[in-house]
Amino acid sequence: MPAAIEGLFGFIGRKTFSILRNVHDASKLINDTFYWTFISPFKGKAVRVRATISEMVKAGYNSVPIVGVISFFVGIILALQAAYQLKKVGALIYVANLVGVSLTRELGPILTAIIVSGRSGSSYAAEIGSMKAAEEVNALVSMGINPIRFLVTPKLIALMVMLPALTIFSDFIGILGGLILSATALDMNPFSYMQQTVSSLLVKDVMTGLVKAWAFGVVITIVGAYQGFKVSGGAEEVGRRTTASVVASIFLVIVFDLFFTALFFYFT
């Protein structure tokens, strides 16, 4: 069946080329983004400060309520689930250890990253995508303004700062949720709960969480921008790319989480 085989090879070839082209486009975007964010400011091309602050407000300050509520609930859930097992062995005080460590090392960063993917990652893809569709990106280029410096750099700086900040906030509120549940439903002494949390947490736990959060910020920005710049058609494609950016950034956040967790497990 030569035709079928030909079709198969053709399919593999086309897929390979399209993947290679995507990899090439993505690495060019990453390269350019890092150039315009970290190198060109030292060559006299200043970062757009006002736009950066406005992105920080949009991505960071405006997510505070949702991150707070979700972290609070997750803190309570974690405490309940931990108590379910620890009650049997009469070691309820270790609820504090479990809640503290799992929040700072894992759940704080990842919950924050998923919320920010949904809020900011999608809006980056939609904003850049609709600018692409309306020739606004071409207009920037024709005015000699680099679209990456103009659009992506402020977003990248905003998320590199705000994701760790939101993560710290999420850690605190989550631990507070665990504490309130333990003090009420589990009849624990809030002061000894606090003491137990502080003594069980290492600086390293918090720091690894923040390193992850920083990396997630980079991932979410790049994915949103990549999908946005890929738009070449009209509004319908903007919608498709926006959805794709959320799916891709949550996926990549988990992949990076696995990578960093394995790294920290063996090397710290």
């Binding site: 600018m131 309306a134 020739e135 606004e136 071409n138 207009a139 920037l140 280029v141 024709s142 005015m143 000699g144 303004i145």
Partner: protein, 261 residues
């Protein structure tokens, strides 16, 4: 005739489909040149080459004697400050007011003080009769006003070259005529070299000094407007007399069409 732009043997392909088939022409300085042709003949593609958004497959584009196809991005960015572009859909930044849109090139490329920038902005908006609308957002303006705001932005750095992509597309005849008058004023007052891409005959006869006509990726006419009117080329005549023509396909397209893919 002093030449602002000289194009030699320009070829563009998308995949294996040839859009511009080795075209050569030149554009005179200080005049309004219209690039004319039916929809889909490659006018926007050609314009994108001239403003450096698209690299041609092969060929040379000289602007003021410098080959822009051989320039690095940095070199060309210097060049871009002398060029203004009005895109087909105006392409104003929707997140900014009209005034900020006009101020953008000034803020990015000059070290002028903010009050000076404000004054220049107001002058440019006055030029296109939009001074009362500086605090409006693009979404609050009509199509014709957006185009004029786009012209004000293109004029911000006092360019030597101004490009327009289908300026009167989608506008009513009265608004379109107003835009044509503005284009004439820009040429007469500022002595700018203007390149307009269009398929609208009434505006061609109003604004053009020089015409380049494209058809199926070839230049079929290049010369002053009077010669165009007198031209005996059958395709030119058909276009000027607005005769209906069987939808023409390039041979490859036609083959694809009948072969079903």
């Amino acid at each position: 005739m002093e030449k602002a732009i000289e194009v030699t043997d320009l070829v563009t392909q998308y995949g294996d489909r040839v859009i511009l088939n080795g075209i050569s022409f030149s554009i005179p300085k200080g005049k309004t040149t219209v690039i004319l042709g039916g929809s889909g003949c490659g006018k926007s593609t050609l314009l994108n080459h001239l403003i450096g958004l698209l690299k041609p497959t092969s060929g040379e584009i000289l602007i003021n004697g410098h080959d822009i196809t051989a320039m690095t991005e940095d070199e060309f960015n210097e060049f871009r400050k002398k060029m203004g572009v009005l895109f087909q859909g105006s392409a104003l930044l929707n997140s900014m007011t009209i005034a900020d849109n006009v101020a953008l090139p000034l803020r990015e490329h000059t070290k002028l003080e903010e009050p000076t920038i404000q004054i220049i902005c107001r002058m440019k908006l006055d030029l296109v009769s939009l001074s009362k609308f500086e605090h409006f957002y693009p979404s609050q303006l009509s199509g014709g006003m957006k185009k004029r705001a786009g012209i004000a932005r293109a004029m911000a750095l006092d360019p030597e070259l101004l490009f327009f992509d289908e300026p009167s597309a989608g506008l009513d005849p009265v608004t379109a005529a107003g835009l044509d008058e503005l284009i004439i004023k820009l040429r007469d007052v500022f002595k700018i070299t203007i390149v307009v891409v269009t398929h609208e005959l009434p505006s061609v006869f109003m604004i053009a000094d020089y015409v380049i006509m494209l058809d199926l990726g070839e230049v079929i006419f290049a010369g002053p407007i009077d010669e165009l009117k007198a031209s005996a080329h059958p395709k030119v005549r058909r276009f000027l007399e607005r005769q209906a023509e069987q939808e023409t396909y390039s041979p490859e397209d036609y083959f694809r069409f009948i072969a079903g893919n």
